[in-house]
């Protein structure tokens, strides 16, 4: 998992497919990020915020009861314990510091489940920036709690009513809006997608998940490295950050997509939202609406580095159904006293299935990134019998 260079390529994927109007803005973000990432003072500022504000390092919790039931060892990387309740804060603190360093006064963002929007609103409040968050009207309805949180934090939430009224259209709208305000606003993208340098930059900001987990696994496991590393995938940022910590090890990497939005298993190559990767599409090439109980995974595409890891065979991409996810939420809640986000429950669901099917052999060690907590999903869960 390397620096994709000036062209922003991961093999055949990635790149910078945006209107000419946005090219200078992308180039400016790339240049600023390269300089900041090489600057020890920037790293120190970010590390300090991650520690004293976001609550890092997050715990690595053995799922004691579940492990006993399944006959394998399950370790949970607890991003649900990070401030604002998900891994999204890691990336946003990095990008918000970068925006401030670039002299920007406003953050723009898209959000699906609302976690990236909440993280953006939070960082904006902390650093004295304003925030405008684009969100599909369907997601606003099912993630009303997070809409309210963003507004309490002082962000403007813009309702997007075009297309599927979910994350895909919120992303398109945020990019269109960016064209109109590139001089004052910074586009704070929420996953490992979009035009170069975003897929790479967001992975670097999320790398902290994998690096912490790797050190924690070394202390926890006799073999130091887990056999499997599993994370859910919307655009793929928590997975990319987690995988980055294990890229050089023998651990098997597994990304879990929602069955109704399975870009790799069910999609084809597409150029969308600024990069070349996989996305689900109809026979005429129109991008399809993803369908998932988890708003944060309701995205028809996947970040370009994942497409590359898939092609290399370095990571495997699998799917689980909504029903399996609901079941996984209940299992984890009852067995460990942890209510996971619906997104994170995708990773749990695959592990439950793989353990049952024998795909995970008895005694296997499995690290699961628990990307967020489930409080935001309680109204959705209340509607499910």
């Amino acid at each position: 998992m390397h620096d994709p260079g000036a062209t922003g390529r991961f093999g055949d994927y990635g790149g910078r497919y945006v209107p000419e109007a946005l090219i200078p803005a992308c180039a400016e973000v790339e240049e600023a990020f390269r300089a900041a990432w090489a600057d020890a003072a920037f790293r120190r500022d970010l590390d300090r915020l991650l520690t004293v504000y976001a609550g890092r390092p997050t715990a690595l919790t053995p799922a004691w009861n579940l492990s006993a039931e399944l006959g394998i060892t399950v370790l949970l990387k607890r991003e649900d314990l990070a401030h604002t309740g998900s891994h999204k804060i890691n990336n946003v603190l990095g990008q918000a510091l970068l925006a401030r360093r670039m002299g920007r006064t406003r953050l723009l963002a898209e959000t699906g489940a609302g976690q990236h929007g909440v993280a953006t609103a939070t960082a904006a409040a902390l650093l004295g920036l304003s925030a405008t968050v684009f969100m599909g009207s369907k997601d606003m309805a099912r993630q009303a709690l997070n809409v309210h949180r963003m507004r309490l934090l002082g962000a403007e939430v813009v309702e997007v009513t075009s297309g599927s009224r979910t994350l895909k259209d919120a992303t398109s709208e945020a990019m269109r809006h960016w064209v109109t305000c590139v001089d004052e606003a910074y586009y704070c993208l929420g996953s490992v997608m979009g035009p170069h340098p975003y897929p790479w930059m967001v992975r670097e900001f999320q790398r902290v998940i994998g690096e912490e987990a790797r050190a924690q696994c070394a202390a926890e496991l006799p073999a130091a490295i887990p056999d499997y590393v599993v994370a859910c995938i919307g655009g793929g940022s928590n997975a990319a950050g987690t995988f980055a910590g294990f890229a050089g090890t023998a651990a098997k990497l597994v990304g879990v997509e929602a069955a109704g939005g399975a870009a790799i298993s069910g999609g084809k190559v597409a150029v969308m939202h600024g990069h070349r990767s996989y996305a689900i599409q109809d026979e005429h090439g129109q991008i399809l609406e993803a369908e998932s109980v988890a708003a944060g995974l309701d995205y028809p595409g996947i970040g370009p580095e994942h497409a590359h890891l898939h092609e290399l065979g370095r990571a495997r991409y699998v799917t689980v159904t909504d029903a399996e996810v609901i079941d996984a939420v209940r299992r984890l809640a009852r067995s460990e006293g942890i209510l996971p986000a619906l997104e994170s429950a995708h990773a749990i669901a695959w592990v439950l299935r793989a353990a049952r099917d024998g795909e995970l052999p008895p005694g296997a060690t499995v690290l699961i990134t628990l990307s967020g907590r489930g409080d935001k999903d309680t109204t959705t869960l209340m509607e499910i019998p």
Partner: protein, 267 residues
């Protein structure tokens, strides 16, 4: 397929010839497949004095389009518009003005560059605009369009550094499409003064006609834009009318009014 299959009116020569004769150029837009009778708008535009027509091939993720063109694209997709279907309609339409397709790169790449360009040329389309394909990614499509005798028209944005603007002017074919401002497509009350300044800056680099587009909504805007540029592209203002029920004749009248204003001031 190769260049010999190209039909339709070539973009570059026609526009250059008219520009050199002192005429200000007018390029109206219609979304392909937006209505059952959508090609009647092409004919009405041509009859009203359009120098070329831009046709949008609708894509589900329109990165640079504002609400009006988005609505038109959604309507067209809802009606079942496809690349092949729109091109088949165009092939049957036989209009005597240069036809230019605007679409997003995904729809080009999934067909294959050469196949897509050959299909355009075969349908009588001799110009192509792909707004999400920047200079860095252009080479392959540049070759394919050239082989099919299709002009690849590049979009220049006011945010571009002088070196980029120079390169866009040098590599564009047919004409250079200059954005009036840092905006998405859409109707607008006023044309910013910076539009003319930008067009003048580009014209210094370009031997091709330079046309201003994005937000040109009224005959007054067209006249103001054409003062510094060689002409204008009008999309959302026409599509707004169409979406609100304007017939081909009524949209034709809108184009005729733009034409008359340009001819009156510059004729």
């Amino acid at each position: 397929m190769n260049a010999t299959t190209a039909t339709g009116v070539a973009v570059g020569p026609r526009l250059r010839e008219r520009r050199d004769a002192g005429r200000k150029l007018l390029v109206p837009y219609v979304t392909g497949g937006v209505s059952a009778d959508w090609t009647d708008y092409l004919r009405a535009y041509a009859d009203a004095g359009a120098d070329a027509v831009e046709i949008g091939l609708p894509f589900s993720e329109p990165m640079i389009d504002g609400p009006t063109v988005q609505e038109a694209s959604e309507r067209a997709l809802h009606r079942g518009a496809t690349v092949r279907g729109v091109l088949a309609d165009l092939r049957a339409a036989r209009v005597d003005v240069p036809l230019i397709v605007m679409t997003y790169y995904h729809l080009v790449a999934r067909e294959g560059h050469a196949e897509f360009c050959a299909a355009l040329a075969e349908a009588g389309v001799r110009g192509l605009i792909v707004p999400d394909l920047p200079l860095e990614e252009l080479a392959e499509l540049e070759q394919a369009t050239a082989a099919a005798d299709v002009d690849l028209i590049l979009v220049a944005a006011p945010s571009g550094a002088p070196s980029r603007l120079r390169e866009i002017a040098a590599r564009s074919r047919g004409f250079v499409y200059a954005m009036t401002a840092m905006v998405t497509t859409g109707e607008r009350a006023e044309l910013p003064a910076s539009a003319a300044e930008f067009a003048a800056r580009l014209k210094a680099h370009a031997d091709l006609p330079v046309l201003l587009g994005f937000g040109i909504s009224t005959p007054e805007h067209a006249v103001a834009g054409a003062r510094a540029a060689d002409g204008v592209v009008v999309a959302s203002a026409l599509m707004r009318g169409l979406l609100d029920g304007a017939t081909p004749a009524e949209s034709g009248a809108q184009v005729r009014a733009l034409r008359a204003a340009l001819d009156e001031v510059y004729g």
